[in-house]
Symmetry: C2
Subunit: 409 residues, 2 copies
């Protein structure tokens, strides 16, 4: 008998008929002789509806109360799923985050899990019940209701899988798994059978939004094997696993893209300690999330500092930096939106050089201009004109033969 | 500084605009220098919507999960009201039933309050915050979510008022208070300024459904003064108070009616011990709620036993009694629906006789036939043909001059 944690997202439990279908899938797992803990999100649309209500009563609702409000979404789903399982003849008991022993810090709307005491979960599993836990929520030591922020239900599932020492955590969603590239951009993108935590992290942080990075990081830290798969069919999904020696030969696993980017260049930044800090501290204090940062060697005692960010934040970033540019004595600031980021990701890059040159060659052959370059151990990212993104992605996908398999050497 | 518990029902918090209006009223009370604990119901329609969802996934949902589901309704309202108060500049903190220390027994969907430990409530009041508590819900000693059944939010308010020793509990609803009679039946019905617990209980149990009897009983037991008033205007409401000596002169306070009744007569019941018990035990085991029971003196060793009940339960009652009638050797059973009950209520009836005769006279003058009669210490109830109910009520209301004031002697 194995122990499974299954997580179903908002679309998978989007209406009562889908909840009944999820119940069937859970029962199949149980009838195969396994223990099942189910983590569910709010039904799709419910959280947005609650936020709309909140905005109607208060322009800037206090975050503590937002958590009390939003937590009702998942609580509704756990009760309905428990009822559906009951109606289908299975014993099932629902638990709120608090009841499941999920203790968080007190940072409302984006709390971190401090620890999990899954006493109730174990007791109910021992009793032969399916245990249904509300994702996305917990409570503080003092009994305050908290929510975990974006991707919170995935995190609940991964963390619970670690806490109960599950054999496998299955993340059910509305796609078949993780692809070599976004199939909307590259029609012959291929579903990956497996991917390492590190690669998944780079894919996630580069725009492949199957899962938030924080859940993948948590899984990596606690060695939780998990699978991303489709709740609407029985296709095998993608296993996210610890890196194995054989993975080293995988130079490029996939391509990740991020649209709606903008770049800002602060020109002629005096070449002395503290100037870069002045720029990025100001941005951080304005809660602006910066992605790539590029600074080249200086010439004539000054250098240019560029960074990218979501284009929706561009105006705010410019307003924030205006006084900083003057204070540090930089020459000026320029900005541009309409750009996108393309990243190639693969563990084998660690030990194989020359991939960057191949990527630049591939794009150059297509007459696609590269505006910025940034690399990590297992990733090469380039910034391009957004209008050329689809073409660049298809070209790169084909160049490295990703529709056939991973690019290996 | 006084301490108020204010309870707002589903209609009063029926949409976000109304929630903002409730926030204003709460703030006025606070600005007048008072401490305020607010108890709210689910927004009108929400509970029904949740029950509909439940029925879609399970024909007979387990009651434990029904409680988990329904409790989200009030949790939504407390968060929204706290936000609205915050937006209007007041400090407010929401508490679920569990957080407010409301401990119940484990009878799901109709739990009884076992005790209240209002530690959090006191701490927040001392801090100057408005405390908003989810009505209708609590938790067991073991941390299971429970709900209190019909009228549960009123009960939460009354019980909290007792636990925090409030100066007054205000039940805000969509009517101005308790009337001498249902204004839809008697257009010149008069709102009562005050009424005793006992009278309120008789009015409630006789069909004036401003509040459930259980809340009134709780208030009486713990001496909680409460007021029923309208959340949509500033009219003074009705105070429900301990009986005072001066109330003894009030012979008739009001008239209560109950429609949709049916009566069953078991004829020729052998006059020996245990036959009545056989009848009513069978009905109780079938969970049928019986109202009036009438048995006259026996003649020729047998008697007729009649009772009334809601007409929706009539078929089930007949089916239940069929075998009992045979077993006890009764002559037969007859049933009739299309009847209604009219009750006159007043404390002064205890010490003043002749009221029954006056009521029969009044109805007799109108040619209205009385089918059954039942009396308590402070009430006389008669069963009539439902088609004559409006006429009978108007006639009685006028006969005793209730539009002018209480009928005193």
């Amino acid at each position: 008998m194995a122990l499974f944690v299954q997580k179903y997202g908002g679309t998978s439990v989007g209406n009562t008929e889908r909840i009944r279908r999820v119940a069937q899938r859970v029962i199949e797992t149980q009838r195969a002789g396994h223990g099942v803990v189910v983590v569910v999100s709010a039904m799709s649309g419910v959280t947005d509806g609650l936020i709309k209500l909140a905005r109607e009563v208060a322009p800037d609702p206090p975050e503590r109360e937002l958590d009390v409000l939003l937590a009702t979404g998942e609580q509704t789903t756990i009760a309905l799923l428990a009822m559906a399982l009951h109606a289908a003849g299975a014993r099932a008991v629902s638990l709120t985050g608090a009841q499941a022993g999920i203790v968080t810090d007190g940072v409302h709307t984006k709390a971190k899990i401090a620890n999990i005491t899954p006493k109730q979960v174990h007791r109910l599993l021992d009793d032969g019940a399916v245990v249904i836990v509300a994702g996305f929520q917990g409570q503080t030591m003092e009994g305050q209701i908290t929510t975990l922020g974006r991707g919170g239900s995935d995190l609940t599932a991964i963390a619970l899988a670690a806490a109960v020492n599950a054999d496998l955590c299955q993340i059910f969603t509305d796609v078949d798994g993780v692809y070599t590239c976004d199939p909307r951009l590259v029609p012959d993108a291929r579903k990956l059978d497996e991917i390492s935590y590190e690669e998944m992290l780079e894919m996630a942080s580069s725009g492949s939004k199957v899962m938030q990075s924080r859940s993948v990081e948590f899984a990596k830290k606690f060695g939780v094997r998990f699978e991303v798969r489709n709740s609407f069919n029985n296709n095998p999904g993608t296993m996210i696993v610890e890196e194995t020696p054989s993975m080293e030969s995988v130079v490029i696993r996939g391509i990740s893209v991020e649209k709606n980017q903008a770049k800002v260049t602060v020109a002629g930044v005096p070449d002395r300690p503290g100037t870069a800090a002045a720029i990025f501290n100001a941005l951080a204090e304005a809660h602006l999330v910066i992605d790539m940062i590029v600074q080249n060697v200086s010439a004539h005692g000054a250098t240019d500092v560029s960074f990218t960010l979501n284009k929706d934040d561009l105006a705010r970033a410019q307003a924030t930096l205006e006084p900083v540019v003057a204070r540090i004595g930089a020459a000026g600031m320029s900005a541009q939106d309409g750009i996108a980021k393309l990243s190639v990701v693969g563990i084998g890059m660690r030990s194989h050089s020359g991939i960057a040159a191949k990527l630049f060659d591939c794009l150059g052959q297509g007459g696609i201009n590269i505006q910025m370059i940034s690399t990590s151990e297992i990733k090469i990212a380039v910034v391009l004109d957004e209008s050329r993104l689809a073409e660049a992605t298809q070209r790169t996908h084909a160049y490295f033969g990703l529709n056939e398999g991973a690019y290996t050497v």
